[in-house]
Subunit: 280 residues, 2 copies
């Protein structure tokens, strides 16, 4: 079973693909578009994409692709972003004169670097896994990379220190995608499910947002996420992303969505799937 | 007047600082924390930070800093992210063998590069302005950079092509920050104002989100933004970011916020300020 993901081998997306589909074959793609295309064409059975990060927000480009393409969300996974310092086997902290990583990762690990590697220079790279790959490929014995543990395993580096980020509350939520024909809608029969939708308010509906949430509140349907996104070029018009409790196979959810259809310009269901846990 | 911003000279943040404060002196800082610190300490009169991008979502780390530090939002600006191809004077498209930029910018300009520079290699850099700086500093006559027009002016490069991104709906919203003592609360006396708040629901309030929006809907106060953010480590608990019409100096807004205080675990007002326009 092939799982398409965006990035280098060893990237956090590959780690999420392995957590969602143990034993499957993660297949790197250069762009998110290529991930959607691989799944739509059948070149991969599933795709895995990041949809939001606890520090850096929602990945709107992937919401746009979910809206444009007819794939279905089948699962979610919250991956704790744990940064590791890694170097070639035998290299010690005292040898390290340069630390390569993505600027966000360098920033998140600045306190560790200041305290434990005050003699090393922090060098920005365009990607965490790419930094690990470079240190390995160039056989640098004076350098280390900051990336996920998976990158160390992939490129034959040793982990010198793990979870070196200052803020341990760094999670990325990933979604698994499938073709609609390959993903029957699950029913809420015990396991808690979640449904993701995107919709737009109709123009000139006073209190439209409040009314659209009422269709769920009046049916005691819990919401897990709500986010508005301005429609550029249409002042005052918004897209809304909503995650709600239950499945589109549930009668209450179906009635709520029908009701939403009465007041929204459009509603698109992105999928119903089991709720993933966030580690504390 | 000094305006602290994060990034290199020539970065989009500097462009936003110049648009918000014409004639002032933009002052680069290495991190967002340093921008807040510069304003809090009085080293800079104002700070300018990105808060959300139309393709890449909210910058939660800056919301966290707004929540932790006692600065006040005094203005907003929506900057259209226009990517330009730039090179040393005299260099033509035919000379260019390598194009340096941030991977997001390279991706956004991929169609242009494929069509107009099929012979050039796209090389990832950690920053758009940093790529321009490097091409200039190393006097590369075989290379170009993709960055904002401001970076070309700053580093003495010529713009070979402008607005080369495929999606022209790429905006970043920036906020201006001041110390509370330096920023009196404006009253809604004609010019349309906006107020930004962050709040958390109290635990175990059924339909808490719906109730919290009711305090505004029942007073006909329009909302411009709503976003939930899961509190990592507190399953089922959320932070909410809300932008609403009016000023905290308005009686209706003040009553609504008092009402919200009855049902929220906490409410923090981040500032009241004039509404900025988004170009179409």
């Amino acid at each position: 079973m092939k799982i398409a993901f965006q990035g280098e081998i060893g990237a956090f997306s590959e780690e999420a693909a392995c957590a969602l589909f143990p034993g499957a074959e993660p297949t790197p793609c250069p762009t998110f578009e290529a991930v959607f295309e691989a799944v739509a064409s059948g070149a991969a059975e599933r795709g895995v994409i990041p949809i939001e990060n606890s520090l850096f927000g929602s990945v709107h480009v992937n919401y746009d692709l979910l809206r444009a393409r007819d794939l279905r969300i089948t699962a979610e996974h919250h991956l704790r972003v744990r940064h590791c310092l890694m170097a070639l086997p035998g290299v010690t902290l005292a040898d390290v004169r340069a630390v390569y990583s993505h600027p966000q990762a360098l920033g998140q690990c600045a306190a560790f670097l200041r305290e434990r590697l005050p003699h090393a220079e922090a060098v920005p790279a365009y990607d965490t896994a790419g930094a690990a790959k470079m240190v390995a490929a160039e056989a640098r014995r004076d350098a280390a990379a900051i990336a996920g543990a998976q990158a160390a395993a992939e490129y034959g580096l040793d982990v010198l220190a793990e979870s070196i980020e200052s803020n341990h509350r760094n999670f990325t939520r990933f979604l698994a995608l499938a073709r609609e024909a390959d993903a029957p809608v699950p029913a809420s029969d015990g396991a808690p499910l979640k449904t993701s939708i995107v919709y737009a308010q109709r123009e000139n509906v006073p209190g439209g947002l409040f009314k659209s949430l009422a269709v769920f509140a009046l049916r005691d349907i819990d919401l897990f996420k709500i986010e508005s996104r301005p429609l550029v070029g249409s002042p005052g018009q918004y897209l809304f992303y909503l995650d709600l409790a239950g499945s589109v196979a549930d009668e209450a959810v179906q009635r709520a969505l029908d009701h939403l259809g009465e007041i929204a310009a459009f509603v698109k269901v992105l999928g119903s799937y089991p709720r993933g846990d966030v580690e504390g």
